[in-house]
């Protein structure tokens, strides 16, 4: 009985953190811009407003158009089942679960891009082409990081990567794990379409990546995508926090507090990055990603030493 309550509470906490994180990024950006900014819970007000609207569909669309938002909502939520949060073990854990974790996001990408093409809009085609290219460049980086983690912690589950061995692994391979953290941060920024790789708040459809793909989603569908995006951000943030904060006090309450602070801290860092950097040119994104891949390969060379 305790277990079920536990799981439900963790999932609720996850949802709250996702919504909070988006608000915090906006707050940090506003602070840097010298404004007071929207309230931290603004995202939730937006969602509530969107849910009350009706779903306007283009006559071109088919049932595929619903698959994208639906999976956008489900996949990040389900992906959280695999992650240890604070000292709470994950709900599902088995050998090779990280592969399922990665490929579920692939499934999500397949249907997001397909539902973008479903509208026959040329902007959404543009967004699709960009999303496909950048995500294909991300994939090898992620796998190299996973190789490093598997080798460093001698385990094959996400719980094993971030669970009990992680502190020892940090002592042995601190430089390499530093590289992994940097790579994870790049992956987080690209996958969640943040500046410097993509700017969802830009005024021109031509320069967007992810945002261009959801131009035609309205009302509850858009709400699903926004909430899904926030959850995806938090999933990656939890990944980074699990890696960066290997210390466990042993007391559930304190551990949870530390992890919450960590996840919100990732939001603050992303907000700072967004405030102090300009958007990269589309052409140079490829170069940055290939550079990150090379950096991550150095990590592998170091770990075999």
């Amino acid at each position: 009985m305790f277990d079920i309550v536990h799981i439900v509470l963790t999932l609720l906490l996850f949802l709250v953190l996702s919504i909070l994180n988006m608000g915090i990024i906006i707050k940090v950006k506003a602070f840097f811009g010298g404004r007071c900014g929207a309230p931290v819970l603004q995202k939730m007000y937006d969602l509530i407003k969107l849910i009350q609207k009706s779903i306007k569909l283009s006559t071109t669309t088919s049932w595929i158009f619903f698959a994208g938002p639906l999976l956008a909502l489900i996949v990040p939520f389900f992906a959280f089942f695999f992650l240890p949060f604070a000292s709470i073990p994950p709900i599902i854990s088995f050998e090779g679960d990280f592969l399922l974790f990665v490929y579920l996001f692939g499934l999500l990408r397949f249907f997001t891009t397909s539902s973008a093409l479903d509208t026959s809009s040329s902007f959404e085609g543009m967004g699709t082409a960009r999303e496909l290219t950048f995500s294909f460049l991300i994939e090898p980086i992620l796998f190299v990081c996973l190789i490093i983690l598997a080798k460093g912690t001698s385990s094959l589950t996400l719980f094993g990567f971030f669970g009990y061995h992680i502190l020892d692994a940090w002592q042995d391979y601190s430089t390499i794990f530093g590289i992994v953290v940097v790579c994870f941060l790049v992956i987080l920024l690209v996958e969640n379409s943040r500046i410097p790789f993509d700017d969802p708040a830009t005024h021109l459809e031509l320069t967007m990546i992810h945002e261009a793909m959801v131009l035609d989603h309205s009302g509850p569908l858009l709400a699903a995508i926004l909430l899904g995006g926030a959850m995806k951000f938090t999933v990656y943030a939890v990944l980074i926090v699990d890696l960066v904060i290997p210390f466990k006090t042993g007391i559930l309450f304190y551990d949870t507090l530390i992890a919450i602070a960590g996840v919100l801290g990732v939001g603050v860092i992303v907000g700072i990055i967004e405030s102090v950097m300009a958007r990269l040119q589309l052409i140079s994104i490829k170069k940055v990603l290939l550079g990150t891949l090379i950096v991550s390969l150095f990590g592998i060379i170091l770990i075999t030493r």
Partner: protein, 655 residues
């Protein structure tokens, strides 16, 4: 016994139309298909019974040659390859009821078609159970010839004739190598059949590497490994769809079958063999998918994906070989099991994709996907089945493509933890698989999005209806099998690990029991999916209004030509791989202030085939130049040759 029944039924499916088809064409088509399906079903029952009894049957046929007695042998590996042959040939036969009806295609052509189809199936069946080398070669040769007849069945189509010509050249170069390989095995080692050679060939003897290389060449041409795949895209593209499905789903796997059999002859394996196979697998995997993205011809694109998937399979085989030479049991087990599982999976989803592509080509009479668009509105079932095939081939959960790739990944990650020396193949393999996975996803988003979604680009859709049930039923069956194998992959674990024993000759300490966890995770996923989707649908079903046009930046939506084309969708990725492509583009120059017409063509093609054909061409031209020195057409010179020959003979006799 059941096996004989299945062979007789499949034989009947080819021969019986000769008696009936002229009088009752529709009935004879259906009867032929029924015979084929009965044959396949009895064959499948036989296979499953044998698998569950774990028995190996061996028969000597009453036919003695100077190369040993003809014999057949049913071992676990044959059983594994029998399954796709039975399933896909039955599906192709079912598909042909409405794809190749005797009424519209003409009597003689469809008689030939059904005859070839049944014999093609038959000789593939005999091929995988043949034990004697010479019987294997005879079946191999007949199978290759029947494939040629099936590719070139349309006598008036220049494209298929030239593709068939290239195919017959390729396959015969392969057969020469195979003759050489079996000749060495017989003369130097004294083996006349597979069962006596398995595990008995010593690598350190002379000619061992020659056997391996000849086998890799001969079987590699059939399998379509880089750079021997040059016949494959054209042959798959211009054959009838039901035949392409058989070629891509089953026939090219015979090459892999041969390679695995040849490798299992050897007790130990030198390191460089494994590295060679592994490297070729990586190159064919990546290049296959890159060329697939560049293609706009849907059947050629699927053919290039066959090369990609053969690449993945060969990566698995290469890992197993490396595992054997570095004594790493995990790599052997997971590499070979993943490869064999991927063989089964690919032989399910590739025919599925070919059938659904055929269902479009039938209606629109073009294979160019940039002419399609919006087909999901008129052919919803075809679209659904194509989508399932596309998700499966991109290696995404919860379909079977993911299960086999997962097995390969898991093997590589597991071996990472056990020993130090497995690191390099692991990095190479993991990176290659992840790149292939990302590109395959991009490619199938492109195909599915461009052809099924959006608005029709060039073709009016108003008169088009969904295909007939004989075309839809095979797709439905294959989709269901893809899904079941994806969600419950552990049903094949036992079978796969038994085949690995044939390959390894000795028991392996590890067991293949990882895939039940995957099903458990899927159960969570499906219940979550059903819950959330149900709640959302129930809440919002009244709020859906479908009455607006697509957002076009505050302008009215113009012509459907403003949509992204396949070339523009692929342009960014192709930019990264431009060094492997031979691209040609021309642009109509823009004149005046108000541009009336603008055209832009982009053709990107395979640089490797181009290079191969160009070098062969240059060589042949050079050779013919030397030939013209002798054969120069002057009467006097020819008379001189005759005189010279006569004088030499006289001198010889006079001695």
């Amino acid at each position: 016994m059941l096996f004989l029944v299945s062979i007789c039924c499949i034989l009947g499916a080819g021969i019986l139309p000769f008696f009936w088809a002229s009088t009752q064409p529709i009935l004879s088509d259906k009867f032929s298909t029924t015979m084929h399906i009965i044959g396949s079903l009895s064959g499948l029952i036989f296979v499953f019974i044998q698998i569950s009894y774990q028995s190996t049957i061996q028969y000597m046929l009453p036919l003695q040659t100077m190369f040993g007695t003809f014999s057949v042998r049913f071992d676990t590996m044959s059983m594994l390859f029998l399954i796709p042959i039975y399933i896909i040939s039955a599906m192709s036969s079912l598909y042909s009821i409405s794809y190749w009806p005797t009424l519209t295609k003409g009597l003689s052509v469809s008689l030939k078609y059904r005859l070839y189809l049944s014999f093609f199936t038959l000789f593939m069946l005999l091929l995988v159970i043949a034990d004697n080398f010479i019987m294997f070669l005879i079946c191999w040769e007949i199978m290759s010839l029947l494939a040629y007849f099936l590719i070139t069945i349309d006598e008036f189509n220049d494209e298929s004739q030239s593709a068939g010509y290239l195919y017959i050249i390729a396959t015969h170069s392969g057969v020469i190598a195979l003759f050489g390989m079996f000749a060495i095995l017989q003369t130097h080692f004294g083996f006349y059949d597979f069962s006596s050679a398995i595990g008995n060939v010593n690598v350190n003897l002379d000619f061992a590497s020659a056997i391996f290389l000849l086998g890799l060449f001969g079987f590699g041409i059939k399998a379509g490994i880089f750079p021997l795949y040059f016949w494959l895209p054209n042959a798959h593209a211009s054959a009838p769809v039901a035949v392409s499905a058989l070629l891509s789903g089953v026939m090219i796997k015979m090459g892999i079958y041969g390679i695995v059999r040849v490798i299992s002859f050897f007790i130990s394996i030198p390191h460089w063999w494994g590295w060679l196979v592994f490297g070729l697998g990586i190159i064919s995997g990546i290049l296959g998918v890159v060329y697939a993205i560049a293609q706009h011809d849907i059947k050629k694109l699927l053919a290039y994906h066959s090369i990609e998937n053969i690449g993945i399979i060969v990566i698995g085989v290469g890992l197993a070989m490396l595992g054997k030479s570095y004594h790493n049991d995990i790599l052997i087990l997971f590499g070979l099991a993943g490869a064999l599982f991927h063989i089964i999976n690919h032989s399910l989803f590739k025919p599925l994709l070919f059938y659904s592509a055929g269902s479009m080509i039938e209606k629109y009479h073009t294979r160019n996907i940039s002419h399609y668009g919006g087909i999901i509105k008129v052919q919803p079932l075809t679209a659904l089945f194509f989508l399932i095939g596309a998700v499966a081939i991109s290696g995404l959960p919860p379909f079977n493509g993911f299960a086999s790739e997962w097995l390969l990944y898991l093997g590589m990650f597991k071996s990472l933890l056990s020993t130090q020396n497995a690191l390099l193949p692991v990095i190479g393999g993991v990176l290659a698989l992840s790149v292939i996975g990302g590109l395959a996803l991009a490619c199938f988003v492109k195909v599915f999005g461009i052809s099924f979604l959006g608005k029709p680009r060039h073709i009016e859709l108003s008169n088009i209806k969904e295909s007939a049930w004989p075309m839809l039923l095979p797709m439905a069956i294959l989709s269901v099998i893809c899904f079941i194998l994806g969600v419950f992959p552990f049903v094949v674990e036992e079978l796969l690990s038994r085949i690995v024993l044939i390959f390894n000759h000795q028991p392996i300490n590890f067991k293949l029991e990882a895939m039940t966890d995957l099903s458990y995770a899927y159960m969570w996923f499906f219940s979550l999916f059903a819950l959330i989707a149900g709640i959302l649908f129930y809440t919002f079903r009244d709020k859906i209004q479908m009455n607006i046009d697509t957002w076009a930046c505050a302008f009215p939506y113009g012509s459907s030509k403003i949509q992204y084309t396949p070339a523009s969708l692929a342009e960014m990725i192709m930019g990264l791989f431009s060094w492997t492509l031979k691209s040609r583009h021309n642009e109509l120059s823009v004149k005046g202030i108000f541009v009336k017409k603008y055209q832009y063509y982009l053709h990107q093609n395979d640089k490797i085939i181009y290079f191969l054909i160009k070098t062969t061409d240059a060589f042949l031209v050079y050779a013919s130049k030397i030939r013209t020195l002798i054969h120069n057409g002057y009467m006097g010179i020819y008379v001189l040759y005759i005189f010279t020959a006569l004088i030499i003979m006289l001198l010889y006799v006079g001695q």
